[in-house]
Symmetry: C2
Subunit: 421 residues, 2 copies
Amino acid sequence: MNLSEMSKEEIAPLLEIEKQKFTAFKSKGLKLNMSRGIHSVEQLEISMPIMDIFHSSAEMKSEDGTDCRNYGNLTGIAEAKRLFGELLSVCEDEIIIGGNSSLALMYDSVSRAMTHGIMGSTPWRLLPEVKFLCPVPGYDRHFGICETFGIKMINIPMSETGPDMDMVEKLVSSDETIKGIWCVPLYSNPDGIVYSDETVKRFANLSPAASDFRIFWDNAYCVHHLTEKENKILNLLEEAKKAGKEDMVFEFASTSKITFPGAGVSVFAASKANISYVESILKYQIISYDKLNQLRHVRYFKNLDGLKEQMVKHREIIAPKFNLVVNTLSEQLDGICRFVKPEGGYFVSVFVPDGCASKVVSLCKEGGVTLTGAGATYPYGKDPHDSNIRIAPTFPPLAELSEALELFCIAVKIASYEKAL
Amino acid sequence: MNLSEMSKEEIAPLLEIEKQKFTAFKSKGLKLNMSRGIHSVEQLEISMPIMDIFHSSAEMKSEDGTDCRNYGNLTGIAEAKRLFGELLSVCEDEIIIGGNSSLALMYDSVSRAMTHGIMGSTPWRLLPEVKFLCPVPGYDRHFGICETFGIKMINIPMSETGPDMDMVEKLVSSDETIKGIWCVPLYSNPDGIVYSDETVKRFANLSPAASDFRIFWDNAYCVHHLTEKENKILNLLEEAKKAGKEDMVFEFASTSKITFPGAGVSVFAASKANISYVESILKYQIISYDKLNQLRHVRYFKNLDGLKEQMVKHREIIAPKFNLVVNTLSEQLDGICRFVKPEGGYFVSVFVPDGCASKVVSLCKEGGVTLTGAGATYPYGKDPHDSNIRIAPTFPPLAELSEALELFCIAVKIASYEKAL
């Protein structure tokens, strides 16, 4: 039965039951973490052969003879550009291979725009105001970059097909202080939404008032399917080229959720003109990223099929966890919460009744389970409805996840019942 | 005989001889590179065991149980902080372990000051002018960072004991737009100068007009001795503490010239207050640097003695190259050039007669040997005397180095003789 249709007399005794369950649960003294999307130990084991790639110095040369132990190759080795270029369907001269962090590539892109502008534009630091559009709920670390640079964030509602494009088009074309938008187009963080072809095409055809407006296209989950159905999105850079607007695209990806979260390889893709411009400043920042790790990844995967096979191994480990989350929530919280079963990505996004998210998170904390902070999925940490909670089920083993979900459901019920009374 | 004491009639026939030698040399069709301080293949071989550190997942945990394959530990793992803290004689809470590039740590430090200021100061981007002092000759990549951020550079002459401290003290204390100074205090790049105790003490006791003035102390060659004599400098952070001025110090180092230039570990050391401040912004840029590479380095070296033993192996390979340079220049260019035999570091800094450096570099290029560009050791690439040339002898094998030096000497003689005529 839907909570909103229940009378206070019906709810009150249910609340008492959940409170008793909560007290019992607390006494277990658990310590579990569902706050961040990180690999479980089992997933880390998949990639262990990558530690055994180099046995001789001859093996440490890239295909063009570059000794990857030494300096050089600012934008990455050719075979890495080819492999990750194939992954993102971009050419080798449209890509830079970075270090272990795509977040750093994103932060650096914004930082560079602040200090240097983009391709000849006025450095953003000289402008009285800079704004970014932020589809919500979204990724807290994207919002963090804006916050630390004092970039004003504007919430954009998400639908099942992606951000509200009417609103995006209107704002971007009319306000030249809007310099960017954060997107996770395939399996959005946290909702798992797949941007429709129409959405991508509308992005590719935006007519921004600002010449240095960029779409920050964080393709973090480009091959991170949770079912056998491999959702695909249109290639934004290619679509933008058709409209002669390819300079508008900054695309990012990484192997953080493919090999090792802490020791992977990151990727930046953009038009040739953007790549040349970035390179012209990047050369002052670094001589070269870690090419040994680039080569290690290429040799390990061998090719795109190898990379995809790796993702099947991850899926076999994490899909049961997502199923457990979805099944538990369906059974326990039907009529109280709203959520969608994701077909990829790393999260389950749950909307609890308005005004309850903070309470749920704090009850879970009290019971020994750390969740992503309420509000984290919104700019400035402010969820206007105090409703969205991001569950990250990959790290805990199934048995622990089951316990954590038990607590989560109790917490949601307590918060929702109390709110309804 | 000194060139300045020779008559034109004496010089002319000598020039003809060198020109003939040059023509003969060119016909060899050589392609050698003495432009950058990079490891020779032999040196790279020293570190090969570092590729064979991890054989099981258990070995990939740091001492506090952190799985180094996963996210976490923004400022580095404890054992890396301890080892590199010992190397620089700083505490574990005065250090951040970075990625493979200390240049990136330096660039990021300046970039952060531009966008955020330092410890509450006005962001440099909001100031009408920012200046750095640049002891010359110096490291081109330091100057490049200033140039790309539009920071005005002021040349400071170097003496045998370090930068002209009278000038540094006077400028720093009187001009609040001066925000920094670049120093390579031990075996300076390119001169190989060792800062005297008095110089370090005077640095530690500077009274800058700007509260956010920082000494960028690039301790790149802290254990890079070329002889058995291990020169030491005073610990700047410790000296500054005595004066209550420890917040003035930003220290940098890396293993780029210890293990692999392209895949080492970098280090940032500073006061606790600075570290906390940097961390508060760094957390928006990156989740964690590559901890596997940090652990790899610690396990490989075992301790500071292990690291020093590694440096002896490097010395055995590169000292003969430096000796060859110094001996050749002494024999061939006595009375024409000025240079000092370095006791450490990566370069031999040669002062050819005024107005001759560009010509020497271009003749060498014509003959097949790439040198660091003339002027590169000065801000804006402008050597006011067109005199300094940085020789980087580590990369070529001895036989090739010998040939390159032959050409270099011919080129210096041609340029000098022509100038004198």
